[in-house]
């Protein structure tokens, strides 16, 4: 197997995730796209870890999974708060601080 096939798959998933973050208006869907981005990064970490036959990259992939869990918890709490206050989770409507 080539290293590049994993890195390119990861790049494709990353780009799709960035598209999702920018194009989606629903707050929950934006959080899901962020998970896609984090998973693309994890593929990179594990691929380089396998290339060098060390476990450092895998350990950091585990840390990224833990941080992603924390991020989803706080992010969904914020989306719920938003829904409770404004009856909408459309992120384009949150423009109070727009210049």
């Amino acid at each position: 197997m080539l290293l590049n096939q994993f890195l390119l798959l990861s790049a494709v998933l990353f780009a799709i995730g960035v598209y999702g973050v920018l194009a989606r208006r629903n707050g929950v869907l934006v959080l899901m796209s962020i998970e896609l981005i984090l998973n693309a990064v994890n593929i990179n970490l594990v691929a380089f870890s396998a290339l060098r036959e060390t476990v450092g990259g895998e350990v950091f992939a585990l840390f990224v999974i833990a941080v992603a869990a924390a991020e989803v918890g706080v992010g969904l709490a914020m989306v719920l708060l938003l829904y409770r206050n404004r009856r909408s989770i459309d992120l384009t409507e949150i423009d109070l601080m727009r210049g």
């Binding site: 197997m1 080539l2 290293l3 590049n4 994993f6 890195l7 390119l8 798959l9 790049a11 494709v12 998933l13 780009a15 799709i16 995730g17 598209y19 999702g20 920018l22 194009a23 989606r24 208006r25 629903n26 929950v28 869907l29 796209s33 998970e35 896609l36 998973n39 994890n42 594990v46 870890s49 396998a50 290339l51 036959e53 476990v55 450092g56 895998e58 992939a61 585990l62 840390f63 999974i65 833990a66 992603a68 869990a69 924390a70 991020e71 989803v72 918890g73 706080v74 969904l76 709490a77 914020m78 989306v79 719920l80 708060l81 829904y83 409770r84 009856r87 909408s88 989770i89 459309d90």
Partner: protein, 180 residues
């Protein structure tokens, strides 16, 4: 190693194994990219969460293909088991909160598409340029014992930082989401 003692065990670098790995990678990659594209385009939020499950399972398969079994199993447990359930709860609690207004989103979508394609071209070109044909010939999967040793010796400080972060996120989520 214990694996090498099993009957029928072959090193991961033998010819047949490499062909099988490439076929598995191809199937996983096609399924994952298709599911990811559907995830960011489908109008149904619940379907998006289910497509996310397919992508996450594919990533777990890629991890196992790379010989990182512990990370693959953790991916299934934490992502598919916990995070997706959290997403489904979030979707159900905010159901029907978004009126569909497709016309206003077209411009935004076109810009997002441009950014995504540009990002893919730049990163893809850089990757092809840098790692042209670097081959991976891993002889054995990584052992969970090695990962445990590594976490609790070399990476003990980041590990403790992550545990404090999880506690802070737990308290933060409760404080943010509670009713007054």
């Amino acid at each position: 190693m214990i694996l090498a003692a099993l009957p029928g065990f072959e090193p991961l670098v033998s010819g047949d194994a490499v062909v099988a790995q490439n076929i598995a990678f191809g199937i996983l990659a096609v399924v994952m990219v298709a599911a990811a594209l559907r995830m960011v385009t489908t109008p149904n939020v619940v379907h998006a969460a289910l497509y996310l499950v397919i992508v996450l399972a594919g990533v777990a398969g890629i991890f196992i293909l790379l010989g990182a079994e512990f990370v693959g199993v953790t991916q299934v447990l934490v992502y598919i088991g916990a995070i997706v359930v959290l997403f489904l709860f979030g979707i159900m609690l905010t159901r029907g909160a978004l009126g569909e207004d497709e016309d206003a989103a077209t411009e935004k979508r076109r810009m997002a598409l441009m950014v995504g394609v540009l990002l893919l071209v730049v990163t893809g070109g850089a990757l092809l340029d840098s790692f042209g044909d670097a081959a991976m010939d891993r002889s054995r999967p990584s052992l969970t014992a090695e990962i445990g040793d590594s976490i609790f010796s070399q990476y003990i400080v980041p590990f403790e930082a992550v545990s404090v972060l999880l506690l802070a996120a737990l308290i933060g989520a409760i404080v943010v989401a509670r009713k007054e």
